[in-house]
């Protein structure tokens, strides 16, 4: 187990370095003049340019800038925007909202997705099964922005059931509808994954053993079929939590939620490179960490991996 953990940790390092370097290079390295358009119509005053060049290490080659940036990251310094805000402050305000939204989406995925998958697997070749399968295909085909716009229009504007935008610091309940929209795609994947996995395990030898032991159907389904079938589902959901935090740009846009996605978008419109890099790097770190945790969790859930 210890060796396994270490291995996964070591594998994450080159990925972290590669991703951050790529982003840093895209955002800083490819712009010829970082000060273009920063000070309205006029060119920026030389003193300002000098100050910023020094603060952002713009005089160095990109690779050195990147290394210095990484150094800062280790002390929790995500850099500072041209307008003087600490990027870490911006993140501290926005991240909890994105996190809440992602959690709402994941909970919806788990509750609805797994239930639908289980029902459809247990019913096998019935109307309910076909209905669930087709609904999942439909959800997979709906781009999130279409779902978002339609839900907002129909339930918000025409029926008036929900508010079309969310307050500045929304609680979990106010995030329910956006969470549903955000989680809809993964919900469909979870349902299908649960179904496939359960159908395979239903025919497994160990399920036959469990039946031969005289256990009740309920016990066989829950403890033997479902418990074993959830392994891949857990992995998927875990990984999804990582990508939902950053994947919510569209949903956040549709419902005016001030999360991390909005921060990136705003950063690009205002040409605040530090803001963009900061948030994206944070999301990559979260993604890698979540993946690591999921891998370890998988090892805990599946004893066959643990002792290799």
């Amino acid at each position: 187990m210890g060796r396994y953990t270490l291995r996964r940790l070591l594998q994450a390092i080159p990925v972290f370095l590669g991703t951050t370097l790529m982003i840093y290079y895209l955002v800083w390295g490819l712009s010829s003049d970082p000060f273009a358009g920063k000070c309205g119509q006029r060119a920026c005053p030389q003193s300002y340019v000098d100050l910023m060049t020094k603060r952002l290490n713009l005089g160095d080659p990109v690779i050195v800038q990147w290394l210095k940036y990484l150094g800062g990251l280790f002390t929790g310094d995500f850099g500072r925007t041209f307008s003087g805000n600490e990027v870490s402050d911006l993140i501290a305000n926005a991240a909890p909202i994105s996190f809440r939204l992602a959690v709402v989406a994941v909970v919806i995925e788990i509750v609805i997705g797994i239930t639908a998958g289980v029902v459809s697997a247990l019913r096998g070749r019935s109307f309910v099964d076909s209905l669930i399968l087709i609904s999942t295909l439909f959800l997979i085909s709906l781009p999130v922005f279409v779902t978002g716009l339609v839900v907002k229009q129909v339930f918000g504007v025409e029926l008036g059931w929900i508010r079309t935008s969310v307050p500045t610091d929304p609680d979990v309940f106010q995030l329910f509808v956006p969470g549903l929209v955000l989680g809809s795609l993964s919900m469909a994947f979870v349902a299908r994954l649960t179904r496939t996995s359960m159908m395979e395990n239903t025919r497994a030898d160990f399920v036959r053993t469990a039946v031969a032991k005289g256990l009740s159907r309920r016990r066989v389904v829950v403890a033997h079929i479902l418990r074993t079938s959830l392994l891949p589902v857990v992995t998927f959901i875990g990984t999804d939590l990582g990508s939902l935090m950053g994947g919510a740009v569209v949903t956040e846009g549709v419902f005016n939620i001030r999360g991390l996605g909005g921060l990136v978008f705003q950063g690009i419109q205002r040409q605040e490179e530090a803001q963009v890099v900061g948030v994206v790097v944070l999301l990559v770190i979260i993604y890698l960490l979540v993946n690591l945790v999921v891998d370890l969790l998988y090892a805990v859930l599946d004893p066959r991996i643990r002792y290799d």
């Binding site: 030898d205 160990f206 039946v211 031969a212 032991k213 005289g214 256990l215 599946d302 004893p303 066959r304």
Partner: protein, 347 residues
């Protein structure tokens, strides 16, 4: 439960099972009237080529046949006189484990990989006996000890993949004994194991049956194993019992050409017997069983009667057999029953 004094422990008669969908016309008649009996404390060995329906019979008895694709089309299965086919599913469930238990061939896939061996044994104590998790684990360890797994107290907390093949099969056996069944069905319990381990497992099973006067149905390909532990032997071919006798008389006077073929196709333990003769040809397709005796296309002694008339399983006059115990389904069984198994009969 009404227990008639004469009723054997298990009585299967004229059992018929089909697979496939009749509407698509692809029906395979897998069991075509299987009958056998097992008494308390008796070991019945079931022999037969792959695909002859040994496992399907066992699954039907246990009530774990997959329906669909399988379909029971006739016959009866009585346990201590109680008819099981068509019985309430909950009643059947309560009989499983408690009255009859089953051991499978491939213990690795038959054990759930995500639970410890102990937890899987303890499950029956918890959910059938209402024991606490802790007490159940203690019982599980006792059972592992009973099947001679060294260091059982620690081993209960290990997972199936940490066990060796032989230990896994021992764990399966422990699991099947948990609720003290009266009938144990062992479906090729040693096929996946190497020879030395096979012998140990068979010895263990034999010992346990004797101690507990438990009836056992032992499904196997291994005639050597059969000779050592079986009280009676039933030979299956294409979903029927073609010969049944106490072990000694079946070995001494095999009365069905198929049985004789089976014996000729394995080396004898005592080194006796002539050359090895595998039975020519293949078993019939179960969706197109030939008319008459299903064995006739492969039988060197087949005559016209065999091609048209299905022989029934009838008692033979075998001087060595106890009672009228020797039965065979061959029109000419009398011709063979007198001859020793090594004798090469010319048609």
């Amino acid at each position: 439960m009404t227990e008639t004094a004469a009723a054997p422990l298990l009585e299967v008669s004229d059992l018929r099972v089909e697979f496939g969908n009749p509407r698509h016309g692809d029906v395979a008649s897998v069991l075509n009237g299987v009958s056998y009996q097992v008494s308390a404390g008796e070991t019945l060995a079931v022999l037969g080529e792959s695909g002859s329906g040994k496992s399907v019979t066992a699954q039907t008895v246990m009530g774990i046949l997959d329906t669909p694709p399988g379909r029971i089309t006739g016959g009866s299965v009585r346990f201590k006189g109680e008819e099981l086919l068509g019985a309430d599913p909950e009643r059947r469930r309560l009989l499983r484990g408690e009255s009859m238990a089953m051991i499978f061939q491939d213990a690795l896939s038959a054990l759930n990989p995500v639970y410890t061996v102990g937890a899987q044994i303890a499950e029956q104590f918890r959910f059938r006996r209402g024991m606490s998790r802790k007490d159940a684990m203690v019982k599980a360890a006792e059972l592992l000890d009973l099947v001679k797994i060294p260091n059982a107290a620690q081993r209960v907390r290990e997972y199936p993949h940490q066990f060796s093949g032989g230990m896994r099969q021992r764990a399966m056996i422990a699991m099947s004994l948990a609720l003290d069944p009266e009938l144990l069905i062992a479906d090729e319990p040693t096929t996946a194991l190497d020879v030395t381990v096979q012998a140990q497992i068979m010895e263990l099973l034999d010992e346990l049956c004797r101690e507990r006067t438990m009836g056992m149905i032992l499904i196997t390909h291994d005639l050597g194993v059969v000779a050592e532990v079986a009280d009676r032997i039933a030979v299956m071919y294409a979903g029927r019992i073609v010969e049944e006798a106490d072990a000694a008389s079946l070995y001494a006077h095999p009365a069905h050409p198929y049985t004789r073929g089976l014996m000729a196709s394995v080396p004898r333990l005592d080194g006796g017997g002539g050359q090895l003769d595998p039975i020519p040809g293949l078993p019939p397709s179960l969706s197109a069983i030939p008319p008459g005796c299903p064995f006739h296309p492969r039988c060197a002694h087949a005559e016209d009667r065999c091609r048209s008339e299905l022989p029934s399983l009838r008692a033979l006059d075998d001087p060595d057999a106890t009672g009228d115990d020797h039965r065979a389904a061959c029109h000419f069984a009398e011709r063979f029953v007198g001859a020793s198994p090594e004798e090469v009969l010319t048609p």
